[in-house]
Amino acid sequence: MKRIEALQAIVDATPDLPVVATCAATSRELASIEDRENNLYLLDAMGLAISVGTGLAQAIKDTNVSRAVVIEGDGSLLMNPGAAITAGYLAPENLVVVLLDNGVYASTASIPTQAVTIDLGRFAESVDLKVLRANNTEELAVALKQTLTEDGPWFIHARTEPGNEPGTKLLLIDPVVHGDRFRRWLTPRLSA
């Protein structure tokens, strides 16, 4: 499965949920599918997506927003694996991490990551995240459906092909404006 196909499956499954996306090509491709107000793009916060998603899961706990969804990459996770350990330690039941693992740093010249030999799904299991595996869009859709209805913390290990979608535009946006758009989308729904 291509990353853009995996992102489409995530978009389809999360019309009403906050989605935190890791920086660079992943955020750009997510925005190219649909620049939704419930998307929070981390424009340059490397390795921080799971931490932000875990904090968001804490912040929306016991509200009408049922899940915090994180789209992470293997390179980004490897930059800050402690974030996954902390997510497993804190164990927010409303956290869903989708790891798009293509085995390369796709945004930086496709240099191979350590995920070429390290099984990040097994790593996630070892830190007490509930792991599901997906190798195609059908399996990803099934996994997403489960994680949105059963308590987590979830970690979907989705294998994707290396490479970026050609022609995807840069995200030339003001982070303050973008963050405020996300906040304005989220906060009315917390008590709705």
Binding site: L40, L48, I50, L56, Q58, A59, A83, T86
Partner: protein, 183 residues
């Protein structure tokens, strides 16, 4: 039971944190601020703080607590100043860039009373490092009475909320009048 000036400062800081009513407090351990961390954990047990939790590195704490304002919530980080090297990319590319308020209370190392021969290499430049990254820094030390420590922490938290950015209080615990005060 009488308390030392250092214990009074610990208590004032904990009371100030409770008074700010944060939605979460993340901490990275340090011996100097262990009494503050323990005080926060005790406040959680009593129901005075909703959520106090450990993280492994400082940038994780920044990521976690930076998310709170998106839900109109507010968080605090308790850490040691040598961890700002770990936290700087997260602070600048997340909290500063997205205008996300949070409060960091950090003990200082590398100054008076320090026993470690190298920690000053990171701790001494921290205030300049933070200020040059558009992160305001307020400092308290042996010259400030305990109530001033608490008042500074409380107002720094309000300042973070008012100015929509991370704000740091650096606390230097050395005090020649208290033999147990740790650097």
């Amino acid at each position: 039971m009488s308390t030392t000036i250092t214990q009074d400062r610990h208590r004032e800081v904990v009371d100030a944190l409770v008074g700010l009513a944060p939605d979460g407090v993340a901490y990275v351990p340090s011996a100097s601020i262990a009494p503050i961390i323990n005080g926060a954990l005790e406040a959680q047990e009593k129901g005075d703080l909703p959520l106090v939790y450990a993280v492994s590195r400082e940038e994780e704490a920044v990521g976690l607590v930076s998310a709170y304002p998106f839900a109109d919530k507010f968080g605090v980080i308790i850490m040691q100043d040598n961890g700002f090297g770990n936290a700087l990319t997260a602070l600048t590319t997340m909290a500063v860039s997205y205008h996300l308020p949070l409060l960091i209370v950090a003990n200082t190392r590398g100054g008076l009373g320090e026993y470690n021969s190298m920690i000053h290499s990171i701790s001494e430049p921290v205030p300049e490092l933070l200020r040059s990254s558009n992160i305001p820094v307020f400092r308290v030390d042996r010259r400030n009475p305990a109530e001033d420590w608490g008042a500074t922490v409380k107002e720094a938290g309000n300042h973070a909320k008012m100015t929509f950015r991370p704000v740091v209080v650096l606390m230097e615990f050395y005090d020649h009048k208290d033999a147990k005060a740790k650097a």
